[in-house]
Symmetry: C2
């Protein structure tokens, strides 16, 4: 975010700061981290995400968004544990572990690391070839599965930002995935076998998490995963462009969407048919969940 | 549109043609103009736009879209009259008149030309300064007003393409203009004082109108108006990018939108309060319509 000399709305002094167009607010760099955390707290309260005594699991990838939400919740006094899933995809994965470990040590946050290979032995690249699906899609599916399993009923906090949420919505509008639109909420309620998921950064942009990390001296993984791909990335770029052209437009769009969400809701057959996986208990529309089906396929493949 | 050697789905021969990703169809350049006109005819029927005996007024700007729709309807045997509104904005306007006159002479289409200054004497640039509104916005308002007045109850045909429609929808979704979304239809029904408006190109892209003009040897105004500006243009660019990244996505989005339109409909106060302008009879939410209010303002300004 571009900095310039501003009259800070919080402390009143004239110094280096930023202009936050979507709040119509100018804040100096000294006040920004406080403002950021206050904004997180307000979001948590607004959407009734959790209370001060709840224990939380934060999904910590090592990127700027998950680092920001972890730091903010820690400073706000919440009881958090960090959970890092490592995909062992070369240099970026190695760096992520280092960064996450250092950060949690400094911040005194309990950290659990799970490697994807603990769940499935074969590498993501190989699975991707066998299933003929992008690495990124397989990785996401496994991450959600492991996270849910490890959360053990605790609330899961993710670092999804306003940019992420709007990108999902726009993508699911362009392709009219009504059932996904109906589920696009800052809070995903607990369901039989699925933990509650909350997104305290849903009203905060990525430019803000970047600045927050910088001002809080947080080192984060800035390299993108070599396998990052797909439709979603295109929409993230479009959303970035829209917000650049019309500053503040995406927060208005998001708030307007939340008000209109019920319009998109149609009880899909998927919703009606959700049941527990016969093998592991994860929610699924079939007898076996996607991960157990994957494991079966891989076993068959292995045995020729 | 990029041409390449294709096996034409219509005539079966292997020759120079295009791949129309959103119909999943390959057509040679010889068959394309017939295909294009068939598509226009199907759209007219699908949305019950007009019958073979209706008399139509085509709004002919001179650009590729309005030229295409005029030529297609003429060749399909409809009874059309062309109507050109000239804004006298420099070279582009001069060129437009020439092009439109030549075209109508060759095609033997009755043409009526009206200059904006016949409605309002002061130049658009001056009005824009007085009202502190972009020239483009004032011009659009006056054009709609004149077109409606001249149509005298006949159905008005415009050259709005799929790209135009999707750009409007996306813009009105990002800013949640529900009342505009509710009106975004291929057919705008006649209302007390407002003519019926139809858009036979609403399922056709701009790449296709461009190719149709080229193959039909139609000269069109390719220069953009020097005053073209605003939010809408940004969305047109975005829509172009989306369709480039995901070929065929915008037609799916548009069709999905039309199915869901009623979800966006909320009877706005504007709808409820529409009445006839006390001065000219045009529909308005106030006592005087926007154009009569503009004229009053200009008169006051002139008299100091």
């Amino acid at each position: 975010m571009q900095t310039k000399r501003v009259r800070c709305k919080i402390c009143g002094s004239l110094k280096e700061g930023v202009s936050l167009r979507h709040y119509n607010l100018r804040v100096c760099l000294d006040c920004f981290p406080h403002f950021f955390k206050k904004r997180v707290q307000e979001t948590v309260e607004k959407f009734k995400m959790f209370g001060p005594k709840d224990s939380l699991i934060v999904a910590l990838s090592g990127g700027k968004d998950s680092m920001s939400v972890t730091k903010a919740l820690k400073d706000l006094g919440y009881s958090i544990k960090a959970f890092h899933i490592n995909a062992d995809l070369g240099e970026v994965s190695k760096k992520s572990i280092e960064i996450v470990q250092n950060f949690c040590e400094i911040e005194k946050i309990p950290l659990k690391i799970v490697h994807l290979k603990e769940e499935i032995e074969i590498s993501l690249e190989e699975i991707s070839k066998i299933l003929k699906k992008p690495v990124c899609a397989v990785c996401g599916m496994l991450r959600r599965y492991i996270l849910n399993k490890q959360a053990d009923g605790k609330t899961i906090v993710t670092g999804h930002t306003l940019n992420d949420e709007v990108s999902f919505i726009l993508k699911n509008m362009i392709f009219w995935h009504d059932e996904l639109l109906a589920r696009q909420s800052p809070v995903l309620q607990e369901k039989e076998g699925l933990s509650r998921k909350v997104k305290p950064l849903c009203l905060i942009t990525e430019e803000e998490t970047e600045l927050f990390c910088k001002l809080s001296n947080i080192t984060y993984v800035s390299e993108t995963c070599p396998y990052k791909s797909g439709v979603y990335e295109v929409f993230k770029k479009l959303v970035y462009e829209i917000n650049k052209e019309f500053p503040g437009s995406i927060i208005g769009f998001y708030k307007g969407f939340l008000k209109r969400m019920n319009k998109f809701y149609c009880q899909s057959s998927e919703e009606l048919l959700l049941q527990r996986c016969k093998n592991c208990g994860y929610l699924t529309t079939l007898e076996l969940c996607s991960v157990c089906r994957l494991k079966e396929k891989l076993l068959k493949y292995k045995n020729g």
